[in-house]
């Protein structure tokens, strides 16, 4: 069990740790995002803060929790970790290496928990001996660089978006786009598609949505973290996609909402399942998450794309936590659950301030009761909800 004397790769005070965790929050449109090789830098949020012995469960000898996984929720975990460390002295070491890497590492049990943007299917989950829970909700946002078009001005529906990404609609003044946008001056410009070059949970959510709304897409491309894109250029990471979209006139790409917002990119408005045109916002993500039927989802396997609801943003996704069902170190898992419980209860505003959507309270109550039921060792449940 690693003690506090672990040689940290990079020890930062909570303040600098925060800052390091959030460069993209402060990055303006013109800054160089691509320089962040975050997959190379396992961040250790350490600090010199006071130990407050008032939170007993976390102090049972476990002083650091290690996590590997998705890059998308990393800023939120970083902020939670800094605040949690201040309160309890427990460090969280989050390696933002990507969802696939997170799954690999929790499978090998080299970390205490994994974080993935795409849920594992129930069969895969059982096979790996893992359990999963939603932690944070976010949205994927199509962004464009079309001269003369402001955020939210361009209206698209699922079928048209799929046709564009299939390379079948090749110009912005195409009749299909024009019929959705009466009165909008669309330039006679070639469409350049920008997609992810690396495997990504963001791509998974985006292609899942396209597969649901377009049979042609499902047939030709399908859903995956990495797919055979029929057209376009590939950028590495959200930064790569964002910088390509901003460089190339006539480009369309997709990035995480928080990223689009902070880079001041031009998002589109999408027609949702209810037939309403919606713009991405915390409210529209929450609407999609609230309408979802978590209680009946096996292993919390639920994809939030194309959910019903008047206000639902159609490309919404949850970021998941993966935990071993039969942990080798129950104490460590208890420490993890204590942290997650704290984050559910106290981390909502922190998440919202970073443009992430905390999961609805009804959902985390359900999650915590599920912890109580499933994560049980011989000596009893690993976690008991404080106020069930």
């Amino acid at each position: 069990m690693p003690g506090s004397q672990d040689p940290p790769l990079k020890a930062l005070s909570p303040e600098t740790g925060l800052h390091h965790g959030l460069p993209r929050q402060r990055a303006g449109a013109g800054e160089i995002h691509v320089m962040r090789l975050r997959f190379l830098v396992p961040i250790l949020l350490a600090g010199t803060s006071l130990m407050l012995p008032t939170v007993p469960a976390a102090a049972e000898g476990v002083t650091s929790i290690s996590v590997a996984g998705a890059t998308f929720p990393y800023p939120v975990y970083a902020r939670w970790a800094a605040a949690y460390h201040k309160r309890t002295g427990v460090k969280l070491n989050y390696q933002s290496i990507g969802s696939g890497g997170g799954i690999k590492q929790i499978r090998a049990r080299t970390v205490d928990f994994g974080a993935s943007d795409a849920p594992l299917e129930p069969a895969a989950l059982r096979e790996a001996g893992l359990v999963q829970f939603p932690m944070i909700v976010g949205g994927v946002v199509p962004v464009v660089n079309v001269p003369g078009i402001a955020p939210g001005e361009l209206h698209l529906d699922g079928a048209t978006l799929a046709a564009i990404f299939l390379g079948r609609v090749t110009r912005w003044n195409d009749a299909g786009i024009a019929s959705l946008n009466p009165g909008l001056a669309l330039p006679d410009k070639a469409i350049t598609i920008v997609h992810r070059a690396d495997g990504s949970g963001t791509s998974w959510i985006f292609t899942d949505y396209l597969s649901k709304v377009s049979p042609a897409w499902k047939e030709a491309v399908g859903r995956g973290k990495a797919v055979a894109w029929p057209a376009g250029v590939g950028g590495k990471g959200n930064e790569g996609v964002a910088s390509y979209v901003m460089r190339i006139k006539g480009a369309i790409g997709y990035v995480e909402y928080a990223y689009a917002l902070q880079s001041h990119m031009v998002h589109v408005s999408l027609k949702n399942r209810a037939g309403r045109a919606v713009v991405p916002s915390q409210e529209s993500f929450q609407a999609a998450a609230a309408g979802a039927d978590w209680a009946h989802a096996d292993g919390f396997y639920l994809v939030l794309t194309n959910q019903p609801g008047e206000l639902s943003w159609p490309i919404t996704g949850a970021s998941f936590i993966l935990l071993p069902r039969k942990p080798d170190h129950p104490k460590r898992t208890t420490a993890v659950l204590t942290f997650l419980d704290w984050a559910y209860r106290n981390g909502r505003e922190m998440a919202a301030s970073l443009d992430y959507v905390p999961i609805p309270q009804s959902v985390y109550t359900l999650v915590e009761s599920r912890w109580h039921e499933t994560l049980v060792t011989d000596s009893g449940p690993l976690f008991s909800p404080a106020n069930p």
């Binding site: 590939g234 590495k236 006139k249």
Partner: protein, 325 residues
């Protein structure tokens, strides 16, 4: 100081082999074998890792342009062609430019200019490749897309056959931009080697030629070039090796698309940038194994290129008899 005295004495006295000599010989030998063992180890590891993919796709792996992680069908053609095209194009730009630089610095420039120019070129070699990538993406690509590319497409895109090379939307990124960035990165290596070998041409030879009334060009053509042929080839190979393996700068500007297109202005992919992009998130045995197989292809490609170059050097050396190996 105290150690050097006895060593010199023994060295001078000759005959018996000292302990230090033995140690030195042993460690040098180990170092040499270690390199060989490393190369073998890398090759073996790559072969093992790529076995599942190669067993499934067979030799067709090299010929297939498909790269689909959903249906798990992979082929190396697109990144392989991308690697070859960008490296070739980069060398086509870099070699003449390096020749010019080396000739200017050694033969034409006034002495006062030589050192600053030579130092500037060596400084270029010290810049990390990612800086070139960032420059390419944020400075060169927009400029190219706005000013040069439309002009090129308009004037060259209509040509009968070659026109297809210059068509496509003005994105600024793509195979051509990647090649250009690569050539800029390769120039310092090639030109500084060329400069070094040009400088070792004996003055007697050059002055004899001048004395016979040869012009600067004639001296270069008939004295300097033949004398330095092997060294120049070595410099070019060094550059080619770098171009084949360069990752980050290319990843920034090539567009990372697994598609073959006739146009140099369209996005493509190279083996090393495909690896850099996809390895961390590759899930499933076939995907990972196919990526390792790409690595094996690059390993093999580098080996073949180097072997061919060695052969060429050997031939040149035998024909002219003036080559310095």
């Amino acid at each position: 100081m105290t150690q050097s005295a006895p060593r010199t004495r023994r060295g001078v006295s000759g005959g018996s082999v000292s302990l230090a000599d033995l140690l030195f010989r042993g460690s040098a030998r180990i170092a040499a074998w270690l390199v060989l063992a490393l190369v073998l180890g890398i090759g073996l590891r790559l072969a093992l890792g790529s076995a599942p993919a190669l067993a499934r796709f067979g030799p067709g792996f090299l010929a297939s342009a498909e790269w689909n992680a959903v249906s798990e069908r992979f082929g190396a053609l697109v990144p392989l062609v991308g690697t070859l095209v960008t490296s070739t194009l980069a060398m086509l730009i870099a070699v003449p430019a390096s020749f010019g630089i080396a000739i200017f610095v050694t033969e034409l420039a006034p002495p006062l200019v030589r050192r600053p120019v030579a130092m500037a070129i060596e400084l270029l070699a010290a810049i990390p490749s990612i800086i070139y990538g960032i420059w390419g993406l944020f400075a060169f690509a927009p400029f190219f897309a706005d000013h040069l590319q439309p002009w090129l497409t308009e004037h060259l895109g209509e040509l009968p056959l070659a026109g297809r090379l210059f068509q496509g939307p003005p994105m600024g990124i793509g195979v051509f931009t990647a090649s250009l960035i690569l050539s800029i990165m390769v120039i310092p290596f090639v030109s500084s080697v060329m400069r070094d070998v040009f400088e070792v041409v004996p003055h007697e030879l050059k002055e004899s030629a001048y004395a016979m009334g040869a012009t600067t060009w004639e001296v270069l053509r008939h004295v300097v070039f033949p004398y330095t042929r092997v060294g120049v080839m070595g410099g070019i190979l060094l550059g080619l090796g770098r171009a084949l393996g360069e990752t980050m700068a290319v990843t920034f500007v090539i567009g990372n698309a697994h598609r073959l297109s006739a146009s140099l202005f369209m996005p493509g992919n190279t083996i090393s940038s495909a690896l850099a992009n996809e390895f961390t998130e590759a899930v499933g045995e076939m995907y990972t194994s196919s990526l390792v197989a790409l690595g094996l292809v690059l390993f093999g490609l580098t080996f073949v290129v180097l072997a061919m170059a060695r052969l060429l050097l050997y031939r040149i050396g035998r024909q002219s008899g003036t080559g310095r190996a």
